[in-house]
Amino acid sequence: MILPYYIIIPLLAAFLISLIAGKKDNWAVILSVIATTALLVLSLFSFISMKDETVTYSMSAWSLPYGIVLVQDALTSFILVMVSIISFTSLIFSIQYIRHLSMDWKYYSLFMLLVTGMNGVIITGDFFNLYVFMEIALFSAFALVAYGSRAEEFEAAFKYAVMGSVSSFLILAGIAVTYSATSTLTMAKVAEVLPTNDQKVIFWIGALFMAGFGLKAAAMPFHAWLPDAHSSAPAPISSMLSGVLIKALGIYVLIRIFYNVFNAPEIFTKIFLVLGTISIIIGVFLAIGQWDMKRLLAYHSISQIGYILLGMGIATPLGILGAVFHLFNHAIFKSLLFYNAGSVEMALGTRDLRKMGNLMKILPTTSQTSLIASLSISGIPPFNGFFSKLIIIIAALQAGLPWYAVFAIIGSLLTLASFMKVQRYGFKGETTVESVENKVGWRMNTAMIILAVLCIATSLMVVPGIQEVTLDPVVKVIADKTEYIQLVLGGMNGN
């Protein structure tokens, strides 16, 4: 059984780093690279080998009504693969980038705790366990946002901590109401018991979870913390936060709760639709006016999260397919864009687009990969962003929601416009920069090239033969809704 190792490996790495790497920085790098590589191999292996089966694992060998259960199905494996890819490349990118800030093992220890928290949230099948892992991920994220120790970073981290605590409170209140209504915290059991309750209970719990996890996902009315936190963090952490944290803690849990536990009540999918569309439009409008490159990217995260919510709100299998596919694609291209911003910041010492220029000559790898990522996020055909947005738009039209499709297209056009701005002013700007402050090393370039290749490679996931083994099992888990109960509880009886 490999399920608990998703939590054990990064947790062990985090504590071993603080135990033996206190004096030697290199050990921290070696240990964390080993841990993330192991996680990448494990998650890829289980994603390929499991297909559409559901595996459960009882912690401490306590059977279900009493114990905590870990659940791995296709959706879990898919998100785990996404987290592993981004954390692996972020770590490779960090090795040089963080040394340029300070030589410190604490960064790697916190990084591994962040991965622990996300993996735990993804793999657990228990509400309170989810809350605990969410807090692990959040607290390490607060510390990592403030890692540069400048005034603005502390401010951003504090803001993030306040908003994060508010959302955690809402979630904890939701869990308390769930427990009082159902007398259990195992998600599958809750899903089984909940329909016998008054319908109002579901609305009440759903509203609390929607606000709490909506804050974590930074959907539009809950987005205020995101631009500060994501633009102040060190670049590899920005890519972890924007690329995977808001998805693992926000979107994934929303999907799990509202589809697999609540059986997707129509009122909540409507809310997904509306929140998603507002996020798409307002997020992109806020983004287009920014001159700070990382802030611009942070606002785009809100807008792209909107596409995922829109896909989830359409609630047809095609819409879910688009949402899941866009979830993965966004992790890849947004992380790549944050690496680009980080390497530009390291080379030129600025994030202001107006002060950049001449980057094609100085940073060839960075500017070429950023071109690929910009084309992906704007939805230009051969790249992955095009296919996922296209699927979402087609799904909206098929479901008889033409206006939502129109808004999605407008959002996509404005995204293209704002990334033309990035390319025009930033990478091909008129300011002539001759020398660089710090050279961008091969490790940073490797991380960027890996993700740039994935930007093109993942568009193959829509090819029929490949789609059947990658995306379709994931869509099946979500679209089957409360089939989840039988899959989890049935699996338990077999143990």
């Binding site: 608990p4 054990i8 504590f15 071993l16 603080s18 694992y57 401490s60 060998a61």
Partner: protein, 147 residues
């Protein structure tokens, strides 16, 4: 010992006696975690409070001589690692992560309840050292005004 560091002689004298009693109480709470209310976390907090008493009464300089801070730091990481090691031993000996693999002993005896007592001890050390070190670091940071 510096007489002019920390609080008054009365506080120091009382602390010199009470710190051991508080530590002992913390250890009692940890060791009876499986029998009575309390446990690793609560006992760890009490241990941290005992150490903080010394920090408050005698000042930072004396405490850093009395305690080996880097050893406390190692102890904190080691206890967390050992907790995980017991969890992993549970996989190989008990069949699941954190499963019990030790003799459960007699009901209500001090040395009973399998791995729970061991885990409580590690949690106690971890929590005690963490809380103390957090306050230690906060107390050592300087307040910079301006900006």
């Amino acid at each position: 010992m510096q007489q002019n560091d920390g609080m008054t002689l009365i506080v120091k004298t009382v602390t010199r006696i009470s710190v051991w009693m508080i530590l002992l109480y913390g250890i009692y709470i940890i060791f009876h975690g499986h029998l009575s209310p309390g446990g690793g976390f609560a006992g760890g907090v009490i241990i941290a409070l005992a150490l903080l008493n010394v920090l408050l009464a005698f000042g930072r300089k004396f405490t850093s001589e009395w305690l080996n801070i880097s050893f406390l730091h190692d102890l904190e990481s080691a206890s967390a690692t050992l907790f995980l090691v017991i969890g992993i031993l549970g996989i190989s000996l008990g069949g699941a992560f954190l499963a019990n693999f030790m003799n459960k002993g007699e009901l209500f005896a001090l040395l009973s309840a399998g791995t729970i007592l061991t885990l409580n001890i590690f949690i106690g050390i971890k929590v005690g050292m963490s809380l103390f070190l957090v306050v230690w670091v906060l107390a050592g940071s300087k307040i910079v005004k301006g900006e």
